[in-house]
């Protein structure tokens, strides 16, 4: 059994209320931070913990905090990114639903560390029930003196508000989120300046994911060094993994980073294997944006060693044979799933969610969707496959924000690893409409280090 830091008390009845949360050690970290530590010491603990951003990019949280500009007389803002919309990811919803005070406690400590006196939790609009849960929890915390003026008599003031989004994946990008929070269209900003210098209302701002903020609580309780002992290498601590797709037990799991992927999929402690007795064909390990991998490369590195659930191990081999931990949205595909269809589905998603501000993404996502649709529905041409690779390449790296990359990678990786399945769709269009390509050799042991030319 791995250690649980965020979900330790998740099954305690009433843990969503302040009283039960406190009975289980809740708000100890707030007391410790506000009464015994300086803001800089809190930042230092987070730095020591090695915590990396849990929203997808994996940037060290403590370092992000230390970049915050602190000009005299200018307000600073702490903003929580709860715009969870990456396909395959639903951990933040789970956390906010069941243990909202973990997020609020983390917000108080983070805001204190950064010197913010007003903070916002930007929750995607569709999560209206979670918005109500958080609002209720904030009211409870305020009544108990953890929010508002002169918190716990320490002289620190903090107001915390929940802001609903309006339905736009792009607002998970931090500068788009800030635009949206300012009441505008969610168009990502051109960086620099980064939010740490000019964020919300032009003021220095830190934007962190729900899970990153919640993780600050155990870091303060146990100390950054203790936290850093969990996990493997630079992948410290625990991570919430959202497991979905064709698994026996999909759901949210808290793992210690470094767990072997094979164990995560097949062990009864975790996902319990592939549903309906089928075999694993492919996975998307970190949310829809990261490269898809065939079963063999999911479970093993190119050199045959087991692949682990960690930032480093999942990205081992680069994009030729690896993927990314991303937001921890782990999607499993069984042998009956069609990679072409899923790639089309994902590209429809990115087409729908592109903000339309910069041209390669605005035009390219729609183009890819149309070509993939044609391939899936039996009207594809062999040249379409290389066309897709090229269009993806023309989008990747040439856009204001990472949505362009996120749209390009699933397409490029699907063709990289499943090219024969795409070709089969062109060669056997009638068959491809009725049946699926099946498992093929995607689960067979890797004979030798697979070397491809990238995209």
């Amino acid at each position: 059994m791995g250690r649980k830091l965020l979900l330790e008390h998740i099954n305690v009845p009433g843990i969503n209320t302040l009283d039960v949360y406190r009975q289980n050690g809740g708000y100890r970290a707030v007391e410790k931070a506000l009464k015994n530590l300086t803001p800089d010491e809190v930042v230092e603990e987070v730095k020591k913990s090695g915590l990396r951003g849990r929203g997808g990019a994996g940037f060290p949280t403590g370092m992000k905090w230390s970049f915050l500009a602190k000009p005299e007389g200018v307000a600073r803002y702490m903003v929580c990114n709860a715009d969870e919309s990456e396909p395959g990811t639903f951990k933040d919803r789970y956390l906010m639903t069941h243990i909202p005070h973990a997020l609020i406690e983390g917000m108080i400590i983070s805001s204190f560390a950064l010197g913010a006196s007003t903070s916002y939790i930007y929750v995607r609009g569709e999560m209206m029930p979670q918005i109500r849960i958080l609002e209720r929890a904030i009211a409870e915390a305020k009544n108990a003196g953890f929010l508002g003026k002169n918190i716990l008599g320490t002289g620190y003031d903090l107001e915390l508000y929940v802001q609903p989004g309006g339905g736009a994946y792009i607002c998970g990008e931090e500068t788009a989120l800030l635009e949206s929070l300012e009441g505008k269209r969610g168009n990502p900003r051109i960086k620099p300046p980064f939010p740490a210098i000019a964020g919300l209302y032009g003021c220095p701002t830190v934007v962190n994911n729900v899970e990153s903020i919640a993780a600050v609580v155990p870091i303060i309780n146990d100390g950054g060094e203790e936290y850093a002992k969990i996990g493997i290498g630079r992948s410290t601590g625990t991570k919430l993994i959202s497991a979905s797709g064709n698994l026996v037990r999909p759901g949210v799991y808290e793992i210690e980073l470094g767990l072997p992927v094979e164990e995560f999929i097949y062990s009864d402690e975790w996902c319990g294997g592939i549903a309906n007795g089928k075999r694993l064909k492919a996975t998307v390990a970190g949310g829809s944006s990261v490269p898809v991998l065939p079963a063999n490369l999911t479970l093993k590195l190119a050199n045959g060693e087991p692949r682990l659930m960690s930032y480093e191990s999942l990205s081992e081999g680069g994009f030729a044979t690896g993927t990314m931990l991303g937001s921890g949205g782990f999607i499993a595909f069984d042998e009956d799933q069609c990679i072409v269809r899923n790639t089309w589905n994902f590209s429809r998603f990115y087409h729908h969610e592109s903000c339309g501000q910069c041209s390669p993404c605005r035009e390219g996502t729609g183009w890819m969707e149309k070509v993939l649709h044609r391939l899936e529905y039996g009207h594809g041409k062999m040249s379409d496959i290389d066309l897709l690779v090229n269009v993806a390449k023309n989008i990747e790296g040439n856009t204001i924000c990472p949505l362009g990359d996120a749209a390009a990678w699933p397409v490029a990786s699907a063709i990289r690893h499943f090219r024969d399945e795409f070709e089969w769709h062109v060669n056997e269009p009638a068959k491809a409409l009725k049946t699926n390509y099946g498992l093929a050799n995607y689960a067979e042991p890797i004979a030798k280090a697979e070397v491809t030319t990238g995209n």
Partner: protein
């Protein structure tokens, strides 16, 4: 572009205006435009959709230009710029949900309700549409119904039938 034949006057209830006042307080002096998204949600919850007159009224309340509201309302997928059925059933149609049968659920809705995606049933009660990832992939297939966005998880055809019956009797 929308051609407004006859302006349709809209009325905001005192309770709604009061909510606006509460929302605006969350932001620093002069940054009240931040209230736009939550205010549009509240307005839509009361009126069912956002007419251009309703948006103009919101613009006047926030002292911003009308076009700023149109720009925002049309950007986000949750705001309805046309009248809707009483219950808009929004089914997640993105990858992970489709791996476990979201497409079948949508087909079933189409058959059961007898209307295509985006169309409204004759009694004005129901419509359905596919929406992008609702961040509930582990409980797929899922659908949500506004304005409180109640979630219905691990859907089966039977569950959908029961839900429709329940809503009909509401």
């Amino acid at each position: 572009m929308l051609k407004v034949e006859e302006p349709q006057p809209v009325h905001f209830s005192p309770a709604l205006i009061e909510k606006f006042g509460e929302i605006v307080k969350r932001y620093p002096e002069g940054k009240h435009k931040s209230a736009l998204l939550p205010i549009l949600h509240e307005t839509q919850a009361e009126l069912g959709w956002l007419s251009s007159e309703a948006m103009d009224k919101v613009a006047a309340y926030l002292d911003i230009q009308d076009i700023e509201v149109y720009e925002v309302a049309s950007f986000y997928s949750m705001y309805f710029l046309k009248p809707q059925a009483k219950f808009v059933m929004e089914v997640c149609r993105t990858g992970p949900c489709c791996l476990v049968g979201a497409e079948k659920i949508m087909d079933h809705l189409e058959n059961k309700l007898g209307v295509k995606e985006g169309e409204v049933t004759a009694d004005g009660l129901f419509s359905w549409r596919g929406v992008e990832c609702l961040a509930a992939c582990g409980y797929a297939p899922v659908l949500q119904i506004g304005p409180d966005y109640t979630f219905y998880e691990n859907l089966t055809e039977q569950k959908v039938d029961d839900l429709i019956n329940d809503l009909r009797n509401k």
